[in-house]
């Protein structure tokens, strides 16, 4: 009784927006539910990892790290991962910059073609590049055996192989980030310099490059974390160059050592979180880009033939390398037995659609369940964060972003630790895979939603409220239709990520539920390269079909707006 009185008293003292919450039970319920879900499926798994690593007989202890770092087989992967991450991020950003500069600043032909080439790696399963590297440059590779006739031996297993495939996979991130940055630089600045007599080279050095520097730093940090989190490529191509993400997996799966695996996961988490925080709270604040909204004059593009054609040639070279890699997968998928019998056959596709069908079916079912849930949840979070005031709002946004900063391997380990006993017994079920899909990439949906909502005048929603609608009706009838493009972009992004996920889900797949990516990894491991290639082609076809379907829905429901899929990806950097 006294407690109730106190509660009521406390309620009277609370600020008005909290009081308002109690007047709208549905809104309150929504906030509570979202927080509960975020706590359970984002915070709890991470907490479990920390708990397992730092707790020794109920007391805080760093013993496990002392043990860990005293062993050569743990220290090496850490050094390797960081070295590789730095190398990939610098090279990837350089290539991304060349593409972005060429498309925004130089008058080159075939821009559409280059844009597609530079963004294609986003929708392809990340480890496809490794598979292709073996098909091209392995000892039986297309280039090494058939073209160069074994004159040159490529060392593809290890650092150099990983550097090439990860650069080709992740430069897209740099391209999208830098494209946005370069596009946003006000042409008036460059025009003014030109009028004052500066050369194109001088403008590039003294205006474009300095203004793009925060973008470049962003791109480097983003690629660095992507490289750290990469699991599929090192699994296939690392050879003796051991990498943290795969070592954490092998420690748990091969050595049955949960504690050691969790500790390795933390070693992996720390540099990722540092990169994320530096990028989010330091680099992105240094942005010099000013969006005025004023229609500015068309940008004058570099048109001097020497510069123009050397940049065009460079882009063409890079694009052909990318084409070569993906084309090889297509070719590999119709070869009978790679390396021994190169007659053409469709038998690999027959295998994919018979033995592999279970994997495809499961992947499609689970992705299709997770995608809309993740999309709606992301929009709800975005709506709450932008439009509503409640205690813990910032924290909610941060937690929803957290999923993005944490490498998949860490999340996967967290999930098996958190959900393998009652009352949260989920291991072995479809639910754990679906939940992982939902919360793994929700950050992108939330960020797209927030960006879209901030551009919409709140008075439209206020009008709805004034006319007597409550928050849920306003959200459903006004907000959601207004942010449909962001919603569908989020859907497309999530679906692609579900179809190509591997690093986290590899820990939670089970007898009843399995995924195509896992099947591909198994095929590559057994050197059934043609089979793996056929599986990869099928994944890409399903992804393209799904993107087409979502675009079709946007056209029908969203009034013909263009799907901003690329925007969703580039928003990672915001």
């Amino acid at each position: 009784m006294i407690r109730t009185k106190r509660f009521v008293a406390a309620l009277r003292r609370t600020p008005s927006d909290v009081k308002r919450l109690f007047q709208e039970p549905l809104l309150l319920m929504g906030i509570v539910l979202v927080n509960v879900f975020l706590f359970l499926f984002v915070v709890l798994p991470l907490f479990k990892i920390f708990q397992l690593s730092f707790e020794d007989n109920g007391r805080f202890s760093l013993q496990v790290f002392v043990d860990l770092m005293s062993k050569r087989y743990n220290v090496q992967p850490l050094i390797h991962s960081l070295t590789l991450g730095v190398a990939v991020s610098i090279l990837g950003t350089l290539i991304g910059f060349i593409f972005a500069y060429a498309i925004t600043r130089v008058n080159i032909p075939w821009k559409r073609f280059f844009t597609v080439t530079a963004t294609f790696p986003i929708i392809a399963p990340p480890f496809m590049m490794s598979l292709s590297a073996i098909l091209l440059f392995g000892k039986q590779g297309f280039v090494s055996k058939m073209i160069l006739r074994e004159i040159i031996q490529f060392k593809i297993y290890g650092f150099w192989g990983l550097l090439v495939v990860e650069t080709l996979t992740y430069f897209s991130t740099a391209y999208l980030t830098l494209y946005g940055v370069l596009q946003a630089i006000d042409p008036a600045l460059e025009d003014a310099a030109l009028d004052l007599g500066a050369s194109k080279g001088k403008i590039f050095r003294s205006i474009t490059l300095p203004l793009a520097t925060p973008g470049i730093a962003s791109a480097i940090l983003l690629i660095f974390s992507q490289s750290l989190a990469d699991f599929g490529n090192p699994m296939i191509l690392a050879g003796n160059y051991t990498i943290l993400a795969t070592q954490a997996y092998l420690t748990i799966v091969g050595m049955y050592n949960m504690k050691g695996g969790a500790a390795l996961a933390i070693l992996l988490l720390i540099p990722s979180l540092i990169a994320f925080c530096v990028q989010k709270y330091w680099v992105s604040r240094k942005s010099y880009v000013t969006v005025t909204g004023k229609p500015s004059a068309a940008r004058i593009k570099v048109d001097r033939s020497l510069t123009k054609y050397s940049i065009f040639g460079l882009c063409l070279l890079l694009a052909s390398v990318i084409f070569l890699f993906y084309g090889m997968i297509l070719f590999g998928s119709v070869v009978k037995l790679w390396g021994a019998n190169h007659s053409l056959t469709l038998a690999n596709y027959a295998h994919v659609f018979t033995i592999g069908w279970e994997y495809i079916k499961d992947t499609l079912i689970l992705s299709s369940i997770a995608t809309p849930i993740s999309g709606v949840l992301a929009m709800i979070i975005a709506f709450l964060v932008v439009r509503k005031n409640f205690p813990g709002k910032r924290l909610m946004e941060l937690v929803s972003l957290l999923t993005f900063a944490v490498p998949g391997t860490v999340v996967g380990i967290g999930y098996i630790l958190a959900f393998n006993q009652r009352p949260l017994l989920l291991t072995g079920t479809a639910a754990i895979i679906v939940l992982l899909f939902i919360f793994r990439d929700i950050a992108v949906g939330v960020q797209t939603g927030i960006a879209e909502l901030q551009q919409i005048d709140p008075s439209i929603e206020e009008a709805s409220t004034d006319l007597g609608a409550d928050s849920s009706i306003t959200f459903r009838r006004i907000t959601l239709p207004l942010i449909t493009p962001a919603f569908y972009s989020g859907l497309a992004f999530t679906f692609v990520k579900c179809m190509t996920a591997i690093s986290a889900v590899i820990f939670v797949v089970s007898g009843k539920w399995n995924l195509i990516t896992i099947a591909i990894l198994g095929s590559v491991e057994n050197s059934d390269l043609s089979q793996a290639a056929a599986f990869s082609v099928v994944i890409i076809i399903f992804i393209l079909l799904a993107l087409w379907l979502i675009q079709f829905l946007v056209n029908r429901l969203g009034g013909g707006r263009k799907l901003k899929f690329e925007k969703a990806e580039s928003l990672q950097s915001i």
């Binding site: 709606v376 491991e525 050197s527």
Partner: protein
């Protein structure tokens, strides 16, 4: 239109709340983990379904992964049977208390000695010896004889030409590690492996992967089980030929066993009985495994126990020293 959106919205919310405990389960389905190659496991499992009308849901994992998974699920076993994998792994499983005994009446007449667990916690169903899978093209081109002893593998001409799996992820590689310990004595064996490491191209996670790599010419020699060398190399059309060490080689008894607290123990027992029958043991010809049932047919060209010099492989010792040997190996090799 609005209604559709509302219905869609509500159903998504509903799915979010209700969909969480998405548990599926049906009667008369046997759930199992298998460490056999999926293409091979499919042959046996489909024949079992045809013969008994019992449905099977199965997942393939390496033997080490099966053990980890069973340990993680010990409080709530998801499967009833562990099908395939070397006996050493089953011995580790028995030690962890993950298995329950079952004495198959079908196997009783011929499963003697180390072909099964003394207390029937696991049952053997095939035999296979460790050997070297050699890429014939490489050996012809370099005019080098095939390796015929453990010492041969240390020859400088094989630098970067040998592949095997990590002993901690693969039953094949661990059997090899235990074998050299038994052949040379533990200390010498680790000195040996330190030298061998210089010749290793890279370590795989799966034991049989090196056979295809040898077939593809990525490496010259893969260390694997004889049946894998034949099934994944020679019989597939790769230029691979097996050879065996003259000092003697180790072997595996492939096993299967019932999971403690598994949901379908009776179906699991039926599967064990079926696996030991002549009908099932005949099928093992597809993978060149040597069946334990003496009435079963053996594939032409398969490596029988009498064909190679075998050591007295002590799988109890190997199983009981698994953790220690692996830790020592990792400390030394640094991987």
């Amino acid at each position: 239109m609005k209604r559709i959106k509302r219905v869609a919205f509500m159903s998504v919310l509903l799915a979010l709340c209700v969909g969480t405990p998405l548990l599926a389960g049906a009667a008369d389905v046997l759930h199992m983990y298998t460490a056999l190659d999926p293409n091979e496991a499919k042959v046996y499992i489909e024949a079992f379904i045809k013969d008994t009308k019992i449905n099977v849901e199965w997942v393939r994992m390496s033997a080490g992964e099966v053990l980890t998974r069973l340990k993680a699920e010990a409080k709530n076993p998801q499967v009833s049977l562990w099908f395939g994998g070397p006996s050493t792994e089953f011995i580790a499983g028995k030690k962890e208390g993950l298995l329950v005994p079952y004495k198959s009446p079908v196997g009783a007449p011929f499963l003697k000695g180390n072909l099964k667990d003394a207390e029937d916690y696991w049952t053997g169903f095939y035999f296979g010896a460790i050997g070297f899978g050699n890429n014939t093209n490489w050996f012809e081109k370099n005019k080098v004889p095939y390796p015929t002893s453990w010492q041969d593998l240390l020859k400088p001409e094989f630098k970067g030409q040998i592949s095997i799996a990590y002993p901690y992820t693969s039953g094949t590689a661990f059997t090899t590690l235990a074998t050299v310990c038994m052949v040379m004595g533990e200390d010498k064996a680790f000195d040996y492996w330190k030298k061998l490491d210089a010749n290793i191209h890279h370590y795989n996670t799966s034991g049989s992967a090196c056979v295809t790599q040898a077939g593809l010419g990525e490496i010259a020699i893969g260390i694997a089980f004889s049946h894998d060398i034949l099934a994944k190399g020679t019989s597939k059309g790769y230029p691979v030929k097996g050879s065996f060490p003259s000092e003697g080689t180790g072997y595996e008894i492939g096993g299967l066993g019932l999971i403690k607290g598994g949901p379908e123990p009776e179906l699991g027992k039926k599967f064990i009985d079926w696996t030991l029958s002549k009908r099932a043991q005949d099928l093992m010809q597809v993978w060149f495994r040597i069946p334990l049932n003496p009435e079963a047919e053996i594939a032409a060209g398969a490596t029988k126990a009498a064909d190679v010099k075998l050591i007295n492989y002590d799988d109890e010792w190997a199983g009981n020293n698994n953790k220690r040997l692996i830790e020592k190996w990792r400390q030394m090799i640094g991987k």
